[in-house]
Every structure is written in C-alpha cells, then in structure tokens.
C-alpha cells in the first residue's frame, strides 16, 4: 500500500507535466488537484471585468506559442516570485514599477 502510494507520487509529475512539454491537455488529463486548482481559478476569472479576461486570454495564447524552454523559465520564475517573503515582494514590486517607467 505504501509502495503504491509512493509510486503514484512519483508518477504524478509525469502525468501533470506542464503543457509546454506535452502540449495542450484536456480536462480529463488533469489530476484531481489540478482540476480543483483550475476550477478555483476559473471562478475567480469569472469575476474579473471583461477587459481583464481578454487580456488574460491574450497572454494565454502568447504563452501557448512560446517554446517549451521559455515556458519552463516562466514557471521557474513564478516559483521564485511566489517564494519571496513579503518584504522582498514589496521591493520587487517597487523595482517592477521603476523598470516599467524606465522602459517608456
């Protein structure tokens, strides 16, 4: 039983491989955890103004056409971003604003 659980754990990342590596996945191909996450996010998305929804759709289309290595890089950066403590996150946000204003 324990071995079966461990096996499942080990194989789960292969099932839940990021879309960029395996291509676009259907609902049935998501793990239960991924389905829950998608469902939660879907409900949040439904509450967004239409303009914002369209912006996210646009970004998704762009994301889909990125090479797998680039998608992986963004996911890794997201993990790093998520791992920032509140102080570091605030500093990053400030730097982002500065970086944006320097670009325009």
């Amino acid at each position: 039983m324990r071995r079966r659980a461990a096996l499942l754990l080990l194989l789960l990342p292969l099932v839940a491989t990021p879309a960029g590596a395996q291509g676009w996945r259907a609902w049935d191909q998501l793990s239960p955890e991924e389905q829950r996450r998608a469902w939660d996010n879907f409900q949040r998305y439904q509450q967004l103004p239409e303009q914002r929804q369209r912006m996210i759709e646009r970004r998704y289309q762009q994301f889909q056409t990125l090479p797998p290595q680039e998608q992986k890089r963004l996911r890794q950066n997201y993990e790093a971003y998520r791992g920032l403590d509140p102080g570091a996150r605030r500093e990053f946000t400030e730097k982002y604003r500065r970086w944006k204003s320097d670009r325009h």
């Binding site: 676009w24 879907f42 409900q43 439904q46 239409e50 369209r54 912006m55 759709e57 646009r58 289309q61 762009q62 889909q64 056409t65």
Partner: protein, 228 residues
C-alpha cells in the same frame, strides 16, 4: 473586397453575459439569442457548429479566413515559413477558444483578435528584433507580397507605373512603422475593421487606436511627401 462595405458597420459592443456557472435560466436565454443570431449571420452559424463539435467546419473556417490571416502574418514575421506556422497557430487557437466566442461579437473581429495577438507576440521575442525588410523581393519572386488575387480594379499600364512606384514606397514605409501602428493601420485600412473593432482586436481603447493611426499616418505622409 475585405475592406468594402465593412467600414462603419459597427456591431454593438460585446455583451458580457455574467452568468454564474451553470445558471440554467440565463443559459437558456443565451442559447435562444445565439440561435437567432445564427439564423441571421452565417459566420455565427459556423462558430455554433464548431462549438457543437462539427469538425467539417474546420475547412470552411480555414478557407474563409486563412487568406487574410496569412497576409497579415506575412507583414509581421521574417519568413513565409514563419507566417504559415503562425497561421496554423491562429486556427489552432480558434479551435481551442471556440467556446469563448460569443455570438454577439463579429467573427471577423474575433479571428483578427487572435491573429493580432499572435503576430505582435512574435515580435516580442528577442530573436525577432532583427530588422528584416519583410517585403523585399525574394529570389525569383515577382510579387513581394505573394501571388495576389485577381484585381478587378486593375489599372492600365500607363497609370500603373506611377501607382506601382507609390505602392513600392508605401510598402517600405508601412513595413518601417512600429508594430502597433502598423497593425492598427492594416486592420483598419486593409482589413476594413472599424476603430472599435480594431481596439477590440488589439486590446486597447478606441482612443488609443486613433492615436496609433494618427502617428502612423503622419509618418507615412512624411515618407511619401514626394508623391503627394
């Protein structure tokens, strides 16, 4: 012609049907509305068939929109091969997002929203920052923009010489425009989308579209001063 008869024919603003997931009453109303629109508009009927799973629609959709999508893509990416790949990407996205299409939107605008997004995104990649004269004649190619379709308004050879020179100069000038100005100009003037629809396709306000077009036109007038 794509640009004829479309200008000024602005559909109503896309209505967002904010339904709670699974709200049956509103879903029924939406279906009835879609059916009515499908009866009036063949494009809507096409998309509803696709949403219902009718794969025979693929070819119809492709033949209807690919000539314009491919032409647009050729004006933004560095090679015919990339333009063709981008065109394929557009149709794949049309399929994947088929359930996002709402019958209240013009299908043309919706397709061009996807095409615009992918074209402009191609240019954001670092490897695309090389300056490429996209419309330079390729070896053995008579028509730098690909073999054109028969033009019912073809001019006489005498009239054509001056027109061709202006056209050549114009193509270079348009190719040199910043991407967003170029996109706004092509969508509105070549593909005949109204400003509101251009804004929808580009994800910006109508005011922003006007500003882009103003700057694009000013630049073109400067480049083509000798012909004006």
């Amino acid at each position: 012609m794509a640009s004829a008869g479309v200008r000024g024919n602005v559909r109503g603003k896309v209505m967002q049907m904010r339904t709670a997931p699974g709200d049956p009453a509103l879903a029924a109303a939406a279906r009835a509305d879609a059916a009515a629109r499908a009866a009036a508009d063949p494009d809507v009927a096409l998309m509803l068939r696709l949403q219902a799973g009718d794969e025979s629609v693929f070819q119809e959709l492709f033949r209807k929109f690919a000539p314009r999508v491919l032409q647009l893509a050729r004006r933004f990416v560095g090679s015919d091969a990339q333009a063709e790949e981008l065109t394929q990407d557009v149709f794949v996205q049309i399929f994947r997002f088929r359930n996002r299409y709402k019958p209240q939107s013009r299908l043309t605008t919706w397709v061009f929203t996807i095409a615009t997004n992918l074209c402009l995104n191609e240019l954001r990649r670092p490897e695309r920052h090389l300056r490429v004269d996209l419309w330079e004649r390729r070896d053995g190619e008579d028509h730098p923009e690909g073999p054109p379709l028969p033009d019912p308004a073809a001019v006489t050879p005498e009239e054509g010489a001056a027109t061709r020179e202006l056209a050549d100069q114009l193509r270079e000038a348009v190719a040199a425009l910043p991407p967003k100005q170029r996109m706004a100009l092509l969508l509105s003037r070549v593909d005949g989308l109204a400003y509101r629809d251009v804004g929808e396709a580009m994800g910006c306000s109508e005011g922003a579209v006007k500003a882009l077009l103003f700057r694009a036109t000013q630049t073109l007038k400067q480049s083509l001063r000798d012909f004006l």
